[in-house]
């Protein structure tokens, strides 16, 4: 289904409940009544075109938001990415960590199973935090600066000097490491960890990991196919204006 401004938000969730965290990430809270996307966006002061692109992209793998997102201000997309970082770090990862701590085994191996799984997850969480912090402190601010200067009519000498030693291209890295760790974690739990005494917790953990994986994939897709390429284009244009290489 294609979600439009006239689609009722309640219907959106009935149709695909995986969109719940995306909707709440925009600061939208429940109790929407019969309000449609247009009305909700107005109420919460959200850019409707951007909201529709993100929600449709997440809803349907074949929906490609790239062209439309590339024409919107980068700052909007970057702000969204920042909110998903918060969601990963403050909501999703602590929740999974908490679930892992609830796993129990009757056997004597209990302590061992728990501590190695915990250790693996804490290490993974640390990697995610470091990666997102780096983006928040280094990558995103630089990209916002590029866009600001790109939109300036006059050349900013300070920024021109900055560009002599710095380029977005350096940040066009992949997120392979983080994805690989998640894949490992899934296989460890599905295939190798001895069956826990509380299967419901294991089930919840797996569901959470699959959710997180999809969310992160969409996140990196937006970074790799919208934010970085648009920033590179702007940077190249600025280099021309500044007569830099």
């Amino acid at each position: 289904m294609l979600i439009t401004k006239k689609t009722k938000l309640a219907e959106v969730i009935h149709q695909n409940y995986h969109l719940i965290p995306i909707i709440t990430r925009f600061g939208i809270n429940f109790g929407f009544g019969d309000k449609n996307v247009e009305q909700i966006c107005e109420k919460y002061n959200i850019r409707q075109d951007f909201f529709l692109e993100i929600i449709n992209a997440f809803n349907d793998e074949d929906y490609s938001p790239i062209n439309k997102l590339q024409n919107l201000p980068l700052e909007i997309t970057v702000n969204y990415l920042l909110k998903s970082h918060q969601y990963f770090n403050k909501v999703k990862l602590p929740h999974i960590e908490n679930l892992i701590s609830k796993l129990e085994w009757i056997s004597a191996e209990n302590k061992k199973n728990k501590s190695i799984l915990n250790k693996f997850f804490i290490q993974y969480r640390k990697e995610v935090t470091e990666h997102t912090l780096h983006e928040e402190n280094e990558v995103y601010p630089f990209i916002i600066e590029i866009e600001k200067n790109y939109n300036l009519l006059e050349n900013n000498i300070d920024f021109s000097k900055l560009l002599e030693n710095k380029s977005v291209i350096k940040y066009a890295e992949t997120h392979d490491e983080l994805n690989t760790s998640l894949l490992d974690l899934k296989n460890i739990i599905i295939k190798y960890l001895p069956p826990s005494d509380n299967i419901d917790i294991t089930e919840q953990i797996l569901n959470e990991i699959f959710d997180l994986e999809k969310d992160m994939k969409d996140h990196t897709d937006i970074e790799n196919s919208v934010v970085i390429p648009v920033a590179i284009k702007m940077e190249n244009e600025l280099r021309k204006r500044f007569n830099l290489k």
């Binding site: 490992d184 296989n187 460890i188 295939k191 190798y192």
Partner: protein
């Protein structure tokens, strides 16, 4: 696990989506590329070198010579043609399999299954047990050793260590050092207090 790779060359979104759904319903397959312009078929087949190219017969009618050209140069890729309507058989001699729009689900699935088992024979995929040597390598990885250190410890080349690591990852579905360490502890290959 090694995947059987496909390129799907089909202009129609509806048909392409259907073909992809069928191919993706097999766990041992991967679709490398969807091609919608016949001009780019040769480029992608040469670049990605898939096991199979599923191609709409209409593409071939548009560019029969071009397609023949890659067919003679590229020995690995096998051709599956998709036909919308019943056509004369003369073009068909150059292809390995044919899927027709009139085929029912079971027929198509069986055809694909046969093609896949031509690439990955049955029985081969069952042996996911680590060999003693591979267990030894897992142990060294879990102890925090580098490839070079492992090579020295086991009297093998770094290249062999890398090959072992690839095979281990293929068998276990675990790639990172932390993941392999968890595996090693769970399977008593190392003690928990030995882990790096």
């Amino acid at each position: 696990m090694e995947k059987v790779s496909f390129i799907i060359a089909e202009k129609s979104f509806v048909i392409r989506t259907g073909l992809m759904k069928i191919i993706n319903s097999f766990t041992e397959t991967i679709i490398l590329k969807e091609v919608t312009e016949y001009k780019t078929i040769i480029k992608y087949v040469n670049k990605l070198n898939p096991d199979f190219l599923i191609i709409n017969l209409k593409f071939i009618e548009d560019a029969y010579d071009d397609i023949r050209k890659i067919f003679s140069e590229n020995i690995k890729t096998k051709f599956i043609i998709f036909t919308g309507t019943k056509k004369s058989k003369e073009h068909f001699a150059y292809f390995d399999e044919q899927i027709s729009v009139d085929d029912d689900k079971t027929t198509i699935l069986k055809k694909i299954q046969v093609l896949i088992s031509g690439i990955i024979p049955y029985g081969n995929e069952d042996n996911n047990e680590l060999s003693e040597r591979e267990k030894e390598v897992v142990k060294q990885i879990a102890l925090g050793k580098t490839n070079k250190e492992i090579a020295e410890e086991l009297f093998i080349s770094v290249h062999t260590v890398i090959t072992h690591r690839k095979n281990i990852t293929g068998k276990l579905g675990i790639k990172t050092v932390s993941g392999l360490t968890v595996y090693a502890i769970l399977n008593n290959i190392i003690e928990i207090n030995e882990a790096s």
